[in-house]
C-alpha cells in the first residue's frame, strides 16, 4: 500500500513537472509581443527578420541574405485581396523605376492558393520576385494584420517604414525615399 502511495505521488509530481516544462517550452518558443510593426510604432528601426522562402514562380528558395546591401520593399499580398489588385501596377512600376538605385521589390504571397497567386502575377504582369509565406511565419514576425501591407528596409537591413493597406504613388515613393536616405 505504501509503495502504491509513493508511486502515485511520484506520478503526480512527474505530471506537474511535465506540464511546467511544457509551459516553459511554449513561452520560450512563442513569437514575442515585439514585432517589426510594433517596434516601428515605438520609434525604433528594427532589423529586418531573416528568412528563407520558396519563390512562387520558380520554386527555388530565396534567402534574405542575398538581398543584403539593397533597399527592399516587402509587400505582403494575396490574390483574393481587392486592394492588392489596385496597387499591383504601382509596385511593378516602382520595381522598374527604382531598380537602378539598388531598390528591390519583393512580394510575399500569404494565405493564398499558389495557382491563384501565379494567375494574379500573370494578369498584372508582375516581374519582381514573389515568395510564398506558407504558415505565415514571416507575416507574424513583421506583425502585419492584413493584406496588403508594405515595409521598406534600408541598405543596413533595418526596417524604416510601414504602409498598412494599399500603397499609393506618394506613400510608396515616400517609403522608398525614406529607406534610401536613412
Amino acid at each position: 500500500m505504501r509503495i502504491a502511495r509513493i508511486g502515485a505521488q511520484a506520478l503526480s509530481v512527474a505530471l506537474v513537472a511535465g506540464l511546467l516544462a511544457l509551459l516553459v517550452w511554449k513561452v520560450a518558443h512563442q513569437v514575442g509581443d515585439s514585432t517589426v510593426a510594433s517596434d516601428l510604432r515605438d520609434g525604433k528601426q528594427p532589423a529586418a527578420p531573416a528568412f528563407t522562402l520558396p519563390r512562387l514562380d520558380t520554386g527555388a528558395r530565396l534567402e534574405s541574405s542575398s538581398l543584403k546591401g539593397k533597399v527592399q520593399v516587402l509587400n505582403f499580398w494575396a490574390s483574393w485581396c481587392v486592394p492588392c489588385r489596385d496597387e499591383a501596377n504601382l509596385l511593378q512600376s516602382a520595381s522598374s523605376a527604382w531598380r537602378s538605385r539598388g531598390v528591390v521589390v519583393l512580394g510575399v504571397d500569404h494565405q493564398d492558393l499558389s495557382s491563384d497567386a501565379r494567375a494574379f502575377m500573370r494578369h498584372y504582369g508582375l516581374k519582381y520576385a514573389v515568395v510564398r509565406d506558407t504558415g505565415d511565419k514571416l507575416y507574424a514576425r513583421y506583425g502585419a494584420t492584413g493584406v496588403p501591407e508594405t515595409f521598406c528596409v534600408n541598405r543596413d537591413g533595418k526596417v524604416v517604414a510601414h504602409v498598412p493597406g494599399a500603397v499609393t504613388r506618394d506613400t510608396l515613393d515616400s517609403c522608398i525615399q525614406g529607406a534610401l536616405e536613412s
Binding site: 502504491a4 506520478l11 505530471l15 511544457l22 494575396a78 483574393w80 485581396c81 481587392v82 494565405q111 493564398d112 492558393l113 499558389s114 491563384d116 506558407t134 504558415g135 505565415d136
Partner: protein
Amino acid sequence: MHPGRARVVALLAALLLAPAAAASERHPTQSELESEVVCPACHTTLDQSSSAIARRMKSFIAARIRAGDTKSEIEDKLVAQFGQAVLAKPATHGFDLLAWVLPIAGLLAGAAVLGVAAWRWSRGAPPERPAAARPPLDPELERRVDEELARFE
C-alpha cells in the same frame, strides 16, 4: 457489464465504424471537409466563413473532390498551401500529438484514481478496535459520564 460482453460491444462498434471511416477517406464530402478545414484569415472553419479566401478554398476542395482525390490527399494539399494550422484537428505527430495523448492520459488517470478510491471505499471502514486495546478512561471523567447518563434514566 461483463468484461467479455464489453469486448464484444467494442469490437462490434469498431466493425460498424470502420467501413464508414474508409468511405469517408475514399469519397470525402464537401461538407465534412468544410467543417474540418480552417479559413486562415478568419480562423473559423470554412463552413462558418464566407470570406474571399474561404470561398476560394471551398472551390479548391470541390475541384479536388471532382478530380477523385482522397480526403488525406486534399488535406495534404491544403497543408502544403497554408500550413498545418489549416486543419481544425491537431496533427497526430510531433508536438501536436500531445493534444491527442494528454486528454486520453488524463481520462485514464482519472479512471484509475476513481477505481482505486471505489476499491478502498468498498472495503468499508476498518474494524473497531477491541475494548481491551482502548486506553482506560480517566476515573474522574468516567464518574462524570455516569452521572450525566443517570440524569437521563
